[in-house]
Structure formats: structure tokens, C-alpha cells
Amino acid sequence: MTEPVGIRLEGIHFGYPARPVLQGVDLTVRPGELTALTGLNGCGKSTLLRLAAGLLRPHRGRVLLGGEDLARLSRRATARRVALLHQTAPAVPGMTVRHLVRQGRYAARGPLGMLREGDDPVVLRALRDVGVEQWADREVDALSGGERQRVRLAMALAQDTRVLLLDEPTTYLDLHHQLDVLRTVVRLRAERGLTVVMVLHDLGHAARFAERIVALREGRVVADGTPEEVVTPELLADVLRVAGRVGRDPEGGWPVCYPDHPLPDHPVPQNTRI
């Protein structure tokens, strides 16, 4: 196990014309930490992950990965340091599990290296890590949603990076497969010393599995701390715009949310024409 790598976002501004997304985000993720990112739809969570993965360039500020500025690294060099699992991926007809997972080696092998026959040990390890080696030669499109998500996680793991970013890895999955994916991430992070940041909408999962929860609202960090510090009725109301109560797990003691109803949207200012 090599030394874990930390992420540092410094004064990040990012947006599209007439729609700022991130407005000055400072965030330091310590090496080996498991962080959950939460907030309403459109608050900038996915954008933050894409910036941290080097898929987008910040308009202002910089992203440091283990002390290296991502702006100085090529796309391939970045993908050797950080892997990002997107929320959804389109179907790819005719592609087998093994073949898709092998695509994760592109950053390490390069365009000509991909022409070589055979799997390297990293691909086999990734298949084993998520427990899909028994379906390695089945077509990805023939799998169920939960199985497919495991395969896509294996593809990200095949990049063999120190940092793993997951954008809503459990959306569209049933509870069984949600826990399956989360437990796999937690186990691998302990085994390999990965630094993990994942977007989670389920605060219960976040409180159970993450050591740190960061909440975003309108492109700014509004809460940051351990689950015990962050998961409160005030956070539910202010950040997630729901009214509810927060209790404790009878055995583990971690916070458990009992959300009840959505709060009304922010009132429209008087002089705004609709």
C-alpha cells in the first residue's frame, strides 16, 4: 500500500454564461479520507467532482492532487492519478464485462498499448475487487442495473489511482445493491488507502459510511464536519430544504434522519417579473 494522496481545491470559481455554478469553494480532503458530498440538485456537487477529476478547468482557483496542479497535467496523466465514476453511462452494444473493465487501462497503456492482447494484473484484480469475475465474458448490456454499476466501478478501479471520485454511485439501485456498492468502496478504501469523495443524496448512507460530510448550497460550502456535527435538523432545513428529525442508531450511535416534508421554495423577490 502506497501513501494516500490528498485533494486541495483553492478558491474555485466555475460557471456558464449567466449561471455561476461554484463561487469560491475551498476544500481540503485529507489523504485516505472518505468524504460524502451532499446538497440539492444543481448546487454544484457534480461540477465539483468533475473539476477535482480534471475534466473541467476552473475559471479561477486551482486543484491540487497530492501537491500537483492539475492544470499542468495532460488528460492521460490526470487519469492515472484520479478516477471518476459518472452517475450514468450509455449502453455499449457488444461489449463484454472484461472488455469494458480493460478500457480503464487506457491512461496507463496509451493508445498503442491498448492494441496489445491480454489483461494485465490490474484488470483481473479490479474484476475480483467488485466480485464480477464470474461474468467477465458476459455482455454488459445483458446485466441488471446493480450488476452494471459494479462493472463500472471495476472500470474506474482499473485506472489504479490513489483517488476515487464517485458521482451518485447508488442512484437507480435498489437498497441491496446500494449497500453492496457502498460496502465495496469502504472495504477497498481500507485495503488500498484510497482517498474517496462521493456524492450521496441519502444522508443516512452518508452518516453511516463517511467520516466527513460536506454540504453545498448555491455553489458554496455551507457545512463541513463529521456526521455527528453536520447531520442536524437545521442542515435538513437549510441545505436540503426538508423538515425532519434526526435520531441515533440504537446500536452504532451514528445519526439517522427522519425526513418528513419538503419546505416551500425560497420566496420570489417582490420586483421579479415572472
Binding site: R75, R80, A91, V92, P93, Y106, R109, P111, G113, L115
Partner: protein, 335 residues
Amino acid sequence: MSRRLALLAVLAVLCAGAELVAGRGMAPGAVWDVLAGGGDATERHILLQLRVPRLLVSLGAGACLAVAGLVLQSALRNPLAGPEVTGVTPGAVLGAVTATGLGLAGWDSPLAVVVAACAGGCTGAALLWLLAGRGGGDPASTAVHGVLVSAVLGGLTAMVLLVAPGELGSVVQWLIGTTEGRVWQHWHLLWPWALAWGTAAWLLAGPLTLLRCGDDTALAAGLSVRRARTLALLCAVALTAGAVAAVGALGFVGLLAPHLAVAVLGADLRVTLPGAALVGAVVVGGADAAAQLFSRLPVPALDSGRLVLPVGALTACLGAVLLLIVVRRTPDRTF
């Protein structure tokens, strides 16, 4: 996988054999005699100067179109992308027709036609590149603009034909696609071009496979998506222009052969790109053999001495049927 490739290769050889004996004016036995070193001067000329180059050109053009189609479908993630709808084929046709109309090239001077078709194909692709955002940013908009460019270029071709009909008969054959009268000169122009760009396309197999997974996934895996797509489109344009310059606008091959190849060989482009080349060769070679056999049938109503069925007419019909089968068998396939 390698067994299926070998099977395809055998099929290609069978088609080639069928095409050698299918033509008129020579009994199948005579073909064997010539190949064994015998035969009289006329027979030797027919086989070695007419049939063999024609066979090679048809196989080569089929392979080019199929590889170009697979590259386009992968790079644009679009099941309907093909040389016909990216402005390349219509551009090449327009180039050749215009050059002939202006008297710069005749159908008996292959080199001039090839150059004109290549220039036209590149113009069509450049037009698409200008319209759809340099580098082919968004696959869907590239496909839509491709259809647009193709329609406009097709209209221009019709206008040129109306103003300067020229040798209308051979132009029409060329619009449909034909291997009639292709000689060694065509083959010598085609093969180095096809080999160079085909190899380039194969070297892009890794990036193309990632592009099939979608831009987001490809980017996250470390691929510079725009650069890879631009290189891929360049290969596809060059291969299409080469094929169209050699045999004209063969319909459906570039659309159909990739679908067949992926259905048979899977999505591993290291295998499927050469496989698609074989499928394309089989389709065009087989269709050409069939077209020649049809032309031999005595049709009393027609002047069967002069009737020659252009291979493009057959590939278009055959292609439509085969494509329907592919679509019906796998209803939820996207590309």
C-alpha cells in the same frame, strides 16, 4: 473470435472465386485453364487485365467503405452514421461529376476522376467540419449537419448533371456505384491509399473503443476526446474518398457492414475493424458476382447484350434487407 475471422476470410475467398467466373464471355473452365497457365490470348486478357483488377478493386472498395463506416459509427456514437450521410460520398460524387462536366476528366482517365472525387470528398467533410463545430464536438449535431450537407451536395450534383449531362450513362452508373471497367490503374491508385488509412484506423482502435463508451466515460478514462474524434473522422473521410473515387457511390455498404461486423465479432475494435474490412469485401465482392450473374441471364425484353446491372443497385437492395434483419433481431441495439 479468430475462428469467426477465419470463416469471414474463407467467405471472402469464395466470393472472389465466384466473381472471377461470373462474368460474361468466358466459360468457368477457361478461367481455370488461364489460372493454370494455359488459355489463349483473348482469354488471358479478359481474366488478367479485366476480371482480376475488377475483383481487387471491388474487394478493396468494399473494405474501405466498411472500415470508414465503423470508424464513423464509433466516433459519432451514431447507428446511422455512414459515409453517405457525412457529406463525404456526396462530395466525392459532386467532385467527379463536376470535373467531367467541365471536361477536366473523362471516365476513361481514372487518375483525373480519382483526384476530383478525393477533392470533392474532402470539401464535403470540410463543410461538415465548419458547420458542426470544429473537431466534431457533439456527435448528435455532427450527424444532423452531415445529413444536411449530404442533401445540399446531392442537389448540386443533380444541377450539374442537368446543365452538363455529358456521358450520362456512365455518370448514372457511377452515381449508383459500379465496378464495370475497373482496370489495374484503378487498383494501383486504390491499394496504397486504402492500406495507409486502414492501418491508421486500426491504430486508433483503442481510442475508438473508448469513444463507443460515451464521451464522459472516455474523458474520465484519460482520452483526449476531441483530438481522438478528429483523427478518426480524418481516417473515415480519406477511406471513403478513396473508395468512392474507385467505384462510385456504393449504397449502404458503409452503413451495413459495420453493423454486421459488430453483431458477429463484438465491440473489440482490434478484431472488428479488420473484420469489418472483410465483411465489406464479402458484401461488395459477392454483390458484384451476383450482379454479373444476373446480367448473364437472357432477358428477352431487354437488350441483354448491353444490359449491365451496376453492383451499387444490388448492394443497396441487399443492404436494406440485411440491415432490417439486424435491426429486427436486436431491437434495443443503439449502434
